[in-house]
Amino acid sequence: MSEAPHREVLVTGIGLVSSLGEGLDQHWSALTAEGGPRPVVDTERFAPYPVHPIVELDFNQQIPKRGDQRQMEPWQRIGTYAAGLALDNAGIKDMPAVLERTDMIVAAGGGERDVEVDSAVLTDLLSTNDAGRLLNERLSSDLRPTLFLAQLPNLLAGNISIVHKVTGSSRTFMGEEAAGIDAVRTAHARVASGQSEICLVGGSYNAERLDMLLLFELGRYLWRDDWLPVWDRLARGSGMITGSMGAFLVLESPGHAEARGATAVARLDAVVSDRCTRGPGAAADTARRQLEMMRSRLGAGRTAVFSGATGAEPATSEERSYLTDVLAGDGGMLVRAPASLIGHGLEAQFPALVSLAALTASRGKLYPATDSTGLETGSDESVDQILVNLWGHWRGEGMALVSRAG
């Protein structure tokens, strides 16, 4: 049997949680709310950095054992919860025979620190003349043993296996936005080629963390002002507002879905990824090549672009001019940048964008623009396909094409 790509890939389940809500219906309600979508932003807790906090979740719904919840840090709980929603949505949550052969690719960061311990140890480090001994003593007594497990990137996948019994295979990709892009690309390629019949793929991100804000502020990638849509930020500086989220998709071959009587939310036509060093114009050149690779899959219907623009520079300005060119060539296309509403979720951002694209394709119409600069236009135009385009804040360029099923 050849493993060359030869079949379609269906999205038969989606689990999405963010600041806008949990599940597809809540997200659609928020996006199409009377008077236009409104973001949920916390400007207080991490000031001067706004974040989009995760909606309140009853974790017991997806992680019934308290002991399991205690073993996880928030990013793992969010991800395990979203994975459970996806399995529910796909109708396989209580099908052990299917879960046992369900493959899994998770895009994960990790390293959720105990900031209290870190701060106390750091303060003492400044005044000691025996840093080595101090570090050994303090870490040996102050680190919680289980915290280590909550920090390992692959333990999100581990927790999903334990809680939801997905055990066909388990891979964890790391590396910020590119990890999410390549996770979805690889899952798609495995199903398209027959290497997998059904695969759970996604990621999660907890934005409500000082340690992660620190990492991105080192490169000065963060927005430090009141909320604005990503395109509007460019007139007043630049920067991303990170958002807590979990996004998982169940990708499935048509034969496997049909055999178990599953209906598809949407079809994932293609996914591509690449790397460039972000010299001037490099990401746009990459995206032009990627769009050409997508061209044969673009249908006759209306297509929208979901841009992954983060608000960080120089990528956001470059993407804006790239998209302006694309729109000039394809007059019918409309743009949305969902990060304006849910924030930027690093590893989870591409799975979240693909989830929102699948949701939009399934509803057949677009949500209203959130942009006063004129790039996003229209309100509730009908749409058949969505092209997802994500450039990471530093590296990683990915594209996906999502269509209405059937």
Binding site: L155, A157, M174, W394
Partner: protein, 428 residues
């Protein structure tokens, strides 16, 4: 039959071969030095000198001290170790041209986060007398330290290597804990089988022995505390085994479709016949006592390779030397190989190099292929007190000459992620 049928396996997929290998461990730099030490039964485990170990329960490790990474941080050393391994593998493979590797990069890297020296540096720059907290660090960060961002993002090591060696497409950084190195190889095999590429660069690297990492494993009671003598600490399959020894290293393998390798006249070092995996849903650090996940993992690898247990001549064990792993690995091997398990040679490289964690699956794949090529099985050293509950031929203490045509190499990870690889000699 088409003329290319000789390049397809029993399942009709492209046969994947290895044409280049590079390795660095505490035993040395490069294939030759490592192989000599490994087959001489020499240990690379020693007292840690990189940082003070006063007050720690474990004070030993298989650190790679002859490779520079100043100032030390795990991603910097991991990157340098990977660089050494990749450079050797590409040189052996004679593939592509300098800085232009004709395929993607799959690299298993240790989890990355900012470390204490960098936190301290940032804190000191704002408020040298303290007290300090993350807001202090954020104030320092606002002045801009792009170098630290690039160093401590998860994709940083892969980005450097992808740039230096000119691999194609988006480099994939991955982790399946202690199975990571094997997962990198598995992803490369799958990409070639899908026809996405003719070649792939697969790497496992780990240079993460610093105080906090050591303490974290120590708090899980996973490490040997047999500090004296250090070289006697790693005792896989022995009755008196008491944990694994943290270690560093890297290995790189150039994978190619056999058709591509033959067409360019490359020397074939072995065939990557199959990879199998199975996740466990039992516990975060322990495997299910019935062993079903690791048993299914071994069976999946054999099935993927299209061979039976009888076709295997040697097992390169996960063999960490923790009481739990070795018992479970025996159960799995015994279940899959039946009565043959008692006489089938199985040895643990970790008895000499320690547990190279993220790199282990790749490091041990290189040693497995060298075992086939050299016709010599590296021993399990420190095997002085056999465990009667583990009646295996562990190739005790001394290397053994043997004709080995096919190896299965196991990697079982924290978090229940298990991968086995089946490797064989080039078909005649």
């Amino acid at each position: 039959m088409s003329s290319s049928s000789g390049y397809r396996d029993s399942k009709g997929r492209p046969i994947v071969v290895v044409t280049g290998m590079g390795i660095v461990t505490s035993l040395g730099r490069g294939r030759d030095d490592n192989w000599k030490a490994l087959t001489a039964g020499r240990s690379g485990i020693h007292a840690i000198t990189r940082f003070p170990t006063e007050g720690l329960r474990t004070t030993i490790g298989g650190t790679v001290d002859f490779v520079d990474a100043e100032p030390f941080c795990a991603p910097a050393l991991s990157e340098n170790l990977a660089d050494i391994a990749v450079s050797e593998a590409i040189e052996q493979s004679v593939i592509g041209s300098k800085g232009d590797f004709p395929g993607p990069l799959f690299i298993a890297v240790a989890p990355v986060e900012m470390e204490w020296p960098q936190r301290e540096e940032l804190a000191r720059s704002m408020n040298p007398d303290g007290p300090v907290d993350y807001h202090t660090l954020l104030q320092a960060a606002r002045k801009g330290r792009q170098d630290l961002h690039d160093r401590f993002v998860f994709g940083g090591v892969a980005e450097t290597l992808a740039g230096r060696y000119g691999t194609k497409g988006s480099p994939i950084s991955l982790s399946t804990a202690c199975a990571s190195g094997a997962t990198a190889i598995q992803l490369g095999v799958e990409a070639i089988r899908r026809g996405e590429t003719d070649a792939a660069l697969t790497v496992g690297t780990d240079g993460s022995v610093h105080a906090e990492a050591l303490i974290r494993f120590s708090l899980l009671s996973a490490l040997s505390t047999h500090n004296e003598p250090p070289e006697g600490a790693s005792r896989p399959f022995s009755k008196n085994r008491d944990g694994f020894v943290m270690a560093e290293g890297a290995a790189a393998l150039v994978l190619e479709s056999m058709e591509h390798a033959r067409a360019r006249g490359a020397r074939i070092l072995g065939v990557m016949e199959g990879a199998g995996e199975r996740a466990d849903s039992f516990h975060r650090t322990r495997s299910n006592p019935d062993g079903h996940a690791t048993i299914a993992c071994l069976e999946a690898a054999l099935d993927d390779a299209g061979v039976t247990p009888d076709d295997v001549d040697y097992i390169n064990a996960h063999g960490t030397g923790t009481p739990e792993n070795d018992k479970m690995e025996y159960l799995s091997v015994h279940t899959v190989f039946g009565d043959r398990a008692a006489s089938l040679p199985i040895s643990s490289n970790k008895s000499m190099i320690g547990h190279t964690l993220t790199a282990a699956g790749a490091v041990e794949a290189v040693f497995s292929l060298m075992t086939i090529a050299e016709g010599r099985i590296p021993p399990t050293i420190n095997y002085d007190v056999p465990d009667p509950a583990i009646p295996l031929d562990v190739v005790p203490n001394t290397a053994r000459d043997a004709s080995v045509r096919r190896v299965i190499s196991n990697s079982f990870g924290f978090g229940g992620q298990n991968v086995s690889l089946v490797m064989a000699a080039e078909p005649a």
